[in-house]
Symmetry: C2
Subunit: 176 residues, 2 copies
């Protein structure tokens, strides 16, 4: 609970900037979205963004973090379906954010903030999947590489644009 009205307003403005950033980044990509563009869309001046975020990269990291949180919440509350359905569900949920996947990997090499957000995403996903696969009685030693492999395939499917048939055929190959 915010302690006063001021704080609400602050968070609202910050969220508006984040929302504008998410939309512009998704529409035009990270490099082709200038801070001026985001600021205009959010109804502020470019340098106002620096009051709320330390840099363009931190703004991007903040956007990504929000998306990952929403994804993890949805993932945790989802009841266990077949492995195949779970994988297809993850792909469908992340599909709208597809444009971010490449940028996250690109920026992870030079930005600590984004590398951290990226890493914590993979960790959370692995933790949840591990419990699931143990339930399904997969051999413990096979679980870790298998989770990594599934992650790579999901990323691959999201990064390259495959049609439904190609997508289904590949996911079928992952059946244990």
């Amino acid at each position: 609970m915010p302690s006063n009205r001021q704080e609400v307003e602050n968070n609202v403005k910050k969220q508006e900037i984040r929302d504008s950033a998410r939309q512009m980044f998704l529409a035009f990509g990270y490099e082709k979205t200038s801070l001026a563009k985001i600021a205009k869309h959010a109804g502020v001046t470019a340098n106002t963004i620096y009051w709320y975020f330390k840099s363009k990269e931190e703004l991007f990291a903040s956007v990504v973090e929000e998306i990952i949180q929403a994804f993890l919440t949805a993932f945790k509350t989802r009841k266990s379906e077949s492995l195949r359905d779970n994988i297809l569900w993850v792909i469908s949920v992340l599909e709208v954010s597809r444009a971010f996947i490449v940028t996250i990997h690109e920026k992870s090499r030079t930005s600590q903030v984004i590398a951290d957000v990226h890493q914590s995403f993979h960790d959370s996903l692995a933790e949840i999947s591990e419990a699931y696969l143990l339930e399904k009685e997969m051999k413990p030693t096979e679980i870790k590489p298998y989770i990594t492999l599934v992650g790579f395939v999901i990323e691959g499917i999201l990064m390259h644009e495959l049609d439904e048939k190609e997508k289904n055929d590949i996911v079928s190959l992952l059946e244990v």
Copy 2:
């Protein structure tokens, strides 16, 4: 065979720029490598690059094309080993160019030249692998999705930095 000395000189200078570009792109990444930096390293002025290449993106595409050609030549003349060895060989050869993989995917979304180079790489690889897997008597309908899956796993391994054990464990899961 070049028709005269002039042409040799031309190609030499162009190659020098390409070489400088490759080294700088690999060392600092695409975005953090300015044309001024490349030009200085090659001993020319920034705008001289525009005599040989239409844009920074075309220069990058040219560098990538050269790497892909070298890779495909090596791949074609290599004699068939086990599938596992072939996959590990591809990974080891591409490892030095790892930094490019992400950038290629990023730029493929907005640059036609790079998308074309990227696509022709996947096509060549699929074509070669298909012949190989037919020899090994894999079912024709399974070949295409399998090749795509292997490609995604190779890209995944290259994009994330895995140690030898993780790498081997994942490649083992690809055994047919």
